[in-house]
């Protein structure tokens, strides 16, 4: 009851802001791993490499949602405990210090993922687990795991379909929760996963076509598993060598052009048709628009007295709203002053454990005899009636 008032206040404030520019003002990243088990080590190192990349390019942890379904770093089979590597040279530990995992273990489910995207969560959901984007946010969504024709497996137990994803994105669009999305997916038959998207302002890219598998790049013979997938490996190679800092002017098109099918061993795909302006505009977007944290500042252009008038008006509205809030609060307090003697909840009776007792042995025998007598009596009644 009190909340809508505050919400109204915020809305009122926002109404008076100057018109937004056609640029994003904040960057978010949603990095989703979907596999568990030790032999899927490479999927988690895929996600963690992307995590480190976006962090390097400035996106803060508060704007990264990291979903790791299993704990590879602390898996007892890990020969290097507490670490996750994406390269057999073990030059950089992706796990290490300074990591914030938002969804871990069994929290990574299809339902939680869709709720995250659409922000249909309960009041108790902490801010760190919510995607608090607005219509000026550019989001990088990266998913990896085991997939197939228009589905992606979550935790070996359930799957998300291409239509589910498309509908979730559409909800985001309707709720004005993004400005532009770069959707990247590294699984088998990945391109089918974005084939059903129908919301505007999305660039999509995947690692392999229908009926094609995506392959791992190389294995580490001491960790004992494959440590990175090919598509992600070559993405990372581009990002690490070509996009060194936020001033980089490399575009999305450059990234896509760097894909070498003979190295990736599958056909990566792109989708530009949802983007206004098509392939040209999409490919001209900078990498840092999605992977980095550019904070465009909106400068207010108007320099006239209308501003003071508007501010005054705003002040009055806020004061009125505050007054209304105070009135209603006092009303509520009056209403809730009931005598404290009445209990508001029924007292819960906690049943203690029943004690086993062995007395009543004779009682039991007597009861038994009575029961037997009763049954025999019933039968005898019959004999009596039948004669």
């Amino acid at each position: 009851m009190l909340l809508p008032i505050r919400l109204l206040a915020v809305l009122a404030t926002s109404l008076f802001l100057p018109l937004a520019f056609a640029e994003h003002t904040n960057n978010w990243a949603v990095l989703v791993g979907t596999s568990r088990f030790w032999f899927n080590y490479r999927h988690l190192s895929n996600v963690l490499s992307m995590y480190r990349t976006v962090k390097r390019l400035g996106i803060p942890d508060s704007q990264i949602i990291l979903m790791l379904p299993d704990d590879m770093a602390c898996n007892p089979r890990n020969a290097f405990p507490g670490t996750v590597y994406s390269n057999s040279n073990r030059a950089m530990d992706l796990y290490g210090d300074n990591i914030e995992v938002d969804y871990r273990g069994y929290e990574v489910t299809v339902e939680n993922f869709i709720r995250l995207l659409t922000d249909r969560v309960g009041d108790e959901m902490p801010r760190s687990k919510r995607l608090l984007t607005d219509d000026k946010s550019n989001i990088l969504i990266y998913m990896t795991g085991h997939g197939g024709n228009e589905f992606l497996k979550f935790q070996d137990a359930e799957e998300i379909g291409a239509w589910d994803l498309a509908d979730a994105f559409q909800q985001m669009w309707e709720k004005k929760r993004y400005h532009e999305i770069l959707f990247m997916i590294d699984t088998c038959q990945a391109n089918t996963m974005f084939s059903r998207l129908y919301s505007p302002n999305i660039i999509a890219t995947g690692s392999s076509e229908l009926d094609q598998s995506s392959y791992s790049h190389h294995a580490d013979n001491d960790v004992g598993v494959a440590v990175i997938d090919r598509y992600t490996y070559y993405n990372l190679e581009f990002l690490e060598n070509q996009v060194k800092d936020l001033s980089s002017q490399k575009t999305v098109g450059d990234l896509f052009d760097s894909y070498d099918i003979s190295k990736i061993h599958s056909n990566p795909g792109m989708r530009y048709d949802l983007f206004p302006g098509g392939a040209d505009v999409a490919r001209s977007r900078l990498i840092t628009d999605f992977f980095g944290n550019i904070q465009n500042v909106e400068v207010d252009q108007k320099e006239n007295g209308a501003l003071e008038e508007e501010l005054l008006e705003l002040g009055r509205t806020i004061a009125m709203l505050r007054q209304k809030e105070a009135d209603e609060a006092s009303q509520y307090n009056n209403a809730t002053s009931v005598p404290a003697s009445q209990p508001t909840e029924p007292v819960k009776h906690v049943r203690g454990a029943t004690a086993l007792t062995d007395d009543n042995w004779w009682t039991k025998k007597v009861v038994g005899a009575t029961a037997l007598a009763g049954c025999i009596g019933l039968w005898a009644l019959g004999s009596f009636l039948e004669t």
Binding site: F37, F39, N75, P76, R77, A219, N221, V223, G224, V225
Partner: protein, 594 residues
């Protein structure tokens, strides 16, 4: 459609239908046998492959070597010093060594009695707890003090101790590692596994003081002499013919072959050239071993508890040394370590033609099922025949009846045939009881006496029946029908549990389908003598001669298998095959007073 149906129905009455079943039966037996013979061909067998993605065999470097070699030599000296000592002293020493590098140690004693002899001993075992694991699962390294061949497993024990010390230094185990040192490979492991699962007989086996989690896999080492070897012999047969999951053999073979460059072989075929004959021989050896169902190594006792296990035996003269063997074990253990659940993706029922060629149950089961089906077909045929009115002499030449009048079915008098079959199967309990209880030195004599009785018994029974009951042709047919029905039934069920045993018994009992009582006396005796050639006691003697073994040893092994391991092969022989043979021979000797 209706015309097809009615013509099919009218076929029912065609007298030619009654001529077909014996030929059908014969065809079933022939096809069943030929089926097995074509399996080694490339078209019907497949190469083995790793089905469980989690195994990742051969993907880790193995570091066993280097300074571990000195440790191994030291342990080898200690083991050599224990040569010839008694079990208790050996176990004391092993316990000291294990405790020395921080492994918890437990001991267990057992005393079994079988065939008049006592099999007693004491196991010592250590539990290496995984530092970061949660102790809910464990893998076992078994190293008996004596090898399968009877010599001392010196290099094996030394290698196990070295490996234990080496494993202790790694923190990447997700399961506990249990090191088991039974005094010999047949009884000790059985006692230990039974006690581990609380399924032991408290009168014979003492419980385990220490336990860990659920067992996921086991490897046994059989390595008596320290010559350099060239190939690896993998022994995988379990008790009662149950086999470990094929992925275990695949994983060990992969680690040995592809990572370490040591080829492996099975069933003693060390010179396998991948020809048809070699494959067939390997398959038959595997079938024989599976059919007998007795223990093949220290690993066999694990398999009935759904714990996959194999025994590894270095073989031949080459340039691989014990460090290579240690690396094979290390690599296999690292693979087993990756597992999250019991191996279940690959096959549990298979026939291996060579280490890397197999057929799965869907491909080979029809051969045993056809053999069992042949008995069922004959049983149904005899049932139908017994229901027909007997033809009077003389009028069947002129009138060729083209239809069978179904109302011509006569009442079947089933009491006597059912009693004969039931009685004969009940009688089978006697040899089962006798041969499992008598002391070992009496066994050969008892068996000889029993064989003599077994040959004479059908004569006596036949004589008694004809004198006291005057049975009819119909009753004779019904007896054979019931006996073959029970035989077919039992063999089909057995085929799902132990394919090879079912096939072997089916093949040896197949003449029973075709022999029948005849009018002429000499022909009856001829049939009876032929049947005596395939009587179970005769087969046992023949097998002993062919294998070059003593009959007494065979019988002692059987008694041991029953009493200690729970092998049920004797039940199949004396409770299913021998009664069927007896009834068949009684039938042949003819008790029809026609």
């Amino acid at each position: 459609m209706s015309r097809l149906l009615s013509s099919a129905l009218s076929l029912r009455r065609d007298p030619r239908m009654l001529k077909a079943p014996p030929y059908l039966s014969f065809a079933c037996i022939l096809i069943g046998l030929i089926w097995l013979l074509v399996l080694p061909l490339d078209e019907y067998s497949r190469r083995t492959y790793i089905s469980e993605n989690a195994l990742l065999p051969g993907q880790v470097h193995t570091y066993f070597g280097g300074s571990e070699q000195h440790v191994f030599r030291a342990y080898k000296e200690e083991v050599a010093a224990l040569s010839g000592k008694d079990t208790h002293e050996i176990n004391n020493n092993i316990e000291e060594i294990l405790k020395g590098f921080g492994v918890k140690v437990g001991r267990q004693s057992y005393t079994y009695g079988a065939a008049g002899g006592a099999y007693s001993g004491e196991n010592v075992y250590g539990i290496l707890q995984a530092p970061r694991g949660d102790a809910t699962e464990a893998i076992v390294l078994v190293c008996p003090w004596k090898t399968i061949g009877g010599s001392e497993n010196r290099v094996g024990v030394a290698l196990s101790l070295t490996l234990a010390r080496y494993f202790k230094r790694w923190s990447l185990w997700s399961k506990d590692i249990i090191l088991l040192f039974p005094p010999e490979p047949k009884v000790g492991t059985q006692a230990w596994v039974d006690a581990y699962h609380d399924a032991h007989d408290p009168r014979h086996v003492s419980p385990l003081p220490l336990k860990s989690g659920a067992l996921q896999g086991a490897l046994a080492i059989d390595y008596p002499d320290d010559h350099h070897f060239s190939t690896l012999h993998i022994i995988y047969d379990g008790v009662n013919g149950q086999l470990p999951n094929l992925d275990l053999i695949n994983a060990v073979g992969w680690v040995a072959g592809n990572q370490m460059g040591i080829p492996s072989f099975i069933q003693g075929q060390y010179n396998h050239q991948n020809t048809y004959q070699d494959r067939l021989k390997t398959m038959f050896r595997g079938m024989l071993s599976q059919g007998l169902g007795n223990v093949a190594g220290a690993h066999s006792s694990f398999i009935p508890y759904h714990v996959d296990a194999v025994t590894l035996q270095p073989w031949g003269m080459g340039h691989q040394d014990e460090m290579a063997m240690g690396r094979v074990i290390e690599g296999s253990f690292r693979s087993l370590n990756n597992l999250l659940e019991h191996l279940h993706q690959s096959f549990f029922f298979y026939l291996l033609m060579s280490r890397d060629r197999f057929v799965s149950i869907g491909t080979y089961l029809p051969s045993a099922m056809l053999l069992a089906a042949n008995f069922t077909i004959m049983a149904i045929f005899l049932w139908v025949k017994s229901g027909q009115a007997p033809k009077t002499e003389g009028d069947d030449s002129k009138e060729k009846s083209t239809t069978l009048d179904t109302s011509n079915t006569v009442e079947r008098d089933m009491l006597l045939p059912a009693a004969i079959v039931a009685g004969s199967h009940a009688l089978g309990m006697i040899p089962l009881f006798i041969f499992n209880r008598l002391p070992g030195d009496v066994l050969p004599h008892a068996f000889a006496i029993f064989s003599a009785i077994s040959i004479v018994l059908p004569l006596i029974v036949s004589h008694l029946l004809t004198s006291f009951y005057k049975p009819t042709v119909q009753q004779s047919q019904l007896t054979k029908s019931f006996s073959l029905l029970v035989l077919g039934l039992s063999l089909s069920t057995l085929a799902t549990l132990n394919f090879s045993l079912s096939f072997i018994i089916g093949l040896l009992a197949s003449p029973l389908s075709f022999v029948q009582p005849t009018k002429s006396q000499p022909l009856r005796w001829a049939f009876a003598s032929l049947l005596s050639l395939i009587a179970p006691p005769t087969i046992v003697y023949t097998a002993a001669v062919v294998a070059g073994a003593d009959v007494g040893d065979l019988l002692r092994d059987a008694s041991f298998g029953w009493n200690v391991l729970g092998v049920y092969t004797p039940v199949a022989i004396w409770g299913v095959w021998w009664p069927a043979w007896t009834v068949g021979t009684v039938n042949v000797l003819g008790f029809a007073a026609a």
